[in-house]
């Protein structure tokens, strides 16, 4: 879309375009952080059998994060005396830049991307790996032992988990034959063409990738860097106010970025699951159709990304935290060999197996997954939940449990 615009600009028009694009992306990161924090609190609340924020902004407390953000902005900005001033100040911004750069090449729709690159996925992995440096500097510069421990753990964890993550990303790259995120997404229109259903190896690669992505975003059960039961708050113990906000903007930004990669590499990108491209479908309507198609594409992509972010939250509030040695063992002993096998396997699969067998297995995987998902949804919908008890407001009375005496009798 910007191509025809570009002809009217001189060289320096590119600066204006870049400024607009980066402002849109920064704005998206902010809104994403605001929305994700609110979602995290609601999800955590529901999983822990409470309500989460309810008041600010009318229903559902949907403005709670904005209010919290305001509070953080006017908070006193303390820097500990033992901290290294320069590193303490610069750390959060390095993390934010690392997270932000990933969005430059992340396509939100067909052509809705700040810069389309031929090696987009590689670029994303590269810049997201530089986010860790900011975290380490935060940990070291704070001049606190808790922070230092958090930073060290983060360094060890990130450097290890980058390897299986990159190798799992290579699996769909091998299948699609391109590192261009736009091309990869365009090659999977139609639900059964999604690369996650392509063959058993891509199917496993999706789950392996998602595990590694959770670890590289330092999400629970891998949040050893900020393990609040051991390290107060880990690497950001000493932070408050705006810099703390920046750290969390970076964290939620990279959460969406890895989810976006998962969407594009495995889950069809902005594809609705229908076998045609929306921008082409509405192309007959001219510019209006193009806009409609792109808006639907972007909305679909955002919903997919946030669903994966939701899964990350779901896992976080469900599973207990691992120990640091378990985290390292999981990566070095299991995930790296698994990802090596997946990479070799997918190459041989595409090289040796006849196309007929490949497509049959692909449809089989798609069918089984669809049936599984359908069964899950059926169970969720038809699940008869227990009635709230009378003993305490909001407490579930487990009358079906054997030996249950009832809260009233105690």
């Amino acid at each position: 879309m910007l191509d025809w615009l570009g002809e009217f600009w001189t060289d320096y028009g590119i600066f204006v375009l870049a400024l607009i694009a980066s402002n849109v992306l920064i704005g998206f990161m902010l809104i994403n952080a605001i929305f994700s924090v609110w979602m995290e609190r609601k999800v955590a609340g529901r999983i822990q059998d409470r309500l989460g924020p309810t008041r600010v902004g009318g229903k559902f407390g949907w403005l709670q994060t904005l209010a919290d953000g305001m509070k953080l902005l006017v908070k006193e900005d303390t820097i500990p005396a033992a901290a290294d001033q320069f590193l303490f100040r610069v750390g959060p911004y390095i993390a934010l830049v690392g997270s932000f750069l990933a969005f430059i090449v992340l396509p939100f729709g067909d052509g809705v991307v700040a810069r389309e690159m031929n090696i987009a996925i590689f670029f994303m992995l590269a810049v997201m790996s530089s986010e860790v440096f900011g975290i380490i500097l935060i940990g070291y510069g704070s001049g606190s032992k808790w922070s230092l421990f958090g930073g060290m753990r983060e360094a060890a964890q990130m450097v290890s988990y980058e390897i299986p993550m990159a190798m799992c990303v290579l699996v769909p790259v091998i299948v699609a034959g391109s590192m261009n995120l736009g091309d990869i997404a365009r090659s999977q229109s139609g639900l059964w063409n999604w690369l996650v259903f392509h063959d058993p190896f891509t199917f496993c690669a999706f789950w392996t990738y998602f595990t590694c992505a959770m670890a590289s975003c330092k999400r629970a059960p891998f949040d050893l860097a900020e393990a609040e039961s051991e390290l107060v708050a880990g690497f950001h113990t000493e932070y408050s106010g705006f810099r703390w906000l920046v750290i969390f903007m970076a964290e939620y930004g990279s959460m969406f970025a890895v989810s976006g990669i998962a969407c594009i590499m495995f889950l069809g990108g902005w594809s609705t699951g229908l076998p045609w491209e929306l921008t082409e479908l509405f192309g007959g309507l001219g510019v209006v159709g193009l806009v409609i198609g792109n808006v639907i594409n972007v909305v679909v992509f955002l919903v997919k990304g946030w669903v994966l972010v939701f899964v990350m939250m779901w896992v976080r509030w469900t599973l207990p935290r691992l120990r640091i040695d378990q985290v390292m063992m999981l990566c070095l002993k299991y995930l790296i060999p698994i990802s090596c096998v997946l990479m070799a396997g997918v190459s041989l699969w595409n090289l040796w197996l006849p196309a007929l067998v490949q497509s049959i297995v692909g449809y089989l995987i798609f069918g089984v997954s669809a049936a599984g998902a359908g069964f899950f949804v059926y169970r969720v919908v038809t699940w008869v939940s227990l009635k709230p008890g009378s003993a305490m407001p909001g407490m579930w009375r487990m009358t079906t449990l054997p030996g249950y005496q009832g809260a009233a009798k105690l």
């Binding site: 060289d11 320096y12 590119i14 290294d84 320069f86 590193l87 610069v90 390095i94 810069r115 389309e116 690159m117 031929n118 090696i119 590689f122 670029f123 992995l125 590269a126 810049v127 790996s129 530089s130 860790v132 440096f133 380490i136 500097l137 070291y140 510069g141 230092l148 930073g151 060290m152 360094a155 060890a156 990130m158 450097v159 980058e162 590192m179 261009n180």
Partner: protein, 187 residues
């Protein structure tokens, strides 16, 4: 000023200043941080030169891998006296003089000595560099088919040697840095 020249001066000045700061600062962790900025600036230079694959590799391996390793090492060994180790004034003077001389020699040796031709850099959207590099590394010869003066070369052997080298490095580093067993206490 053209856009390319403007971007070059912007990135090059930042990179050069960060490199100078790397040298000047006495604090080893800050030095590593400035080095990080220098490396990121260098990758910016690579992107500017149209070598986006090398730029991304630079970010991935240097910034994400090597620098984390260096800072890891700094953290493991950083104890009070070693963070700020002062260098004497005489050493500084000698080094700076030698450095300026070396810079003058290098400039004299390179400035205006090479002819250059250029084409418009490829759009990163359809840059073929990653593909060509991959082919060359896996043994598909590269080069003009009809030119008698140029050799069609591939780099399969160096690639294999590097991979074996990395394996040796992996084992060697693990061996060197392994935890000492009880009984062979450090002196």
């Amino acid at each position: 000023m053209e856009l390319h020249a403007f971007m070059f001066w912007l990135i090059a000045l930042l990179t050069g200043l960060c490199a100078l700061a790397t040298v000047i600062t006495q604090n080893i962790v800050r030095s590593a941080t400035w080095l990080l900025f220098t490396l990121a600036g260098t990758s910016g230079i690579f992107f500017l030169l149209g070598a986006d694959f090398v730029g991304a590799i630079q970010l991935l391996i240097y910034v994400g891998g090597t620098m984390v390793l260096v800072v890891f090492g700094v953290m493991l060994t950083a104890q009070g006296p070693f963070i700020n180790m002062k260098t004497s004034g005489a050493e500084w003077a000698i080094s700076i003089v030698a450095g300026i001389l070396l810079f003058a020699v290098l400039l004299f040796g390179t400035w205006g000595r090479f002819s250059a031709s250029t084409s418009t850099p490829e759009d990163p959207k359809d840059s073929h560099h990653a593909v060509t590099i991959g082919q060359v590394l896996t043994g598909v010869p590269y080069g003009p088919f009809d030119s008698p003066t140029q050799v069609r070369a591939h780099y399969l052997l160096p690639f294999e040697i590097v991979s074996v080298h990395l394996l040796v490095v992996l084992i060697g580093a693990a061996y060197l840095a392994r935890a000492k067993r009880r009984g062979e206490e450090p002196k």
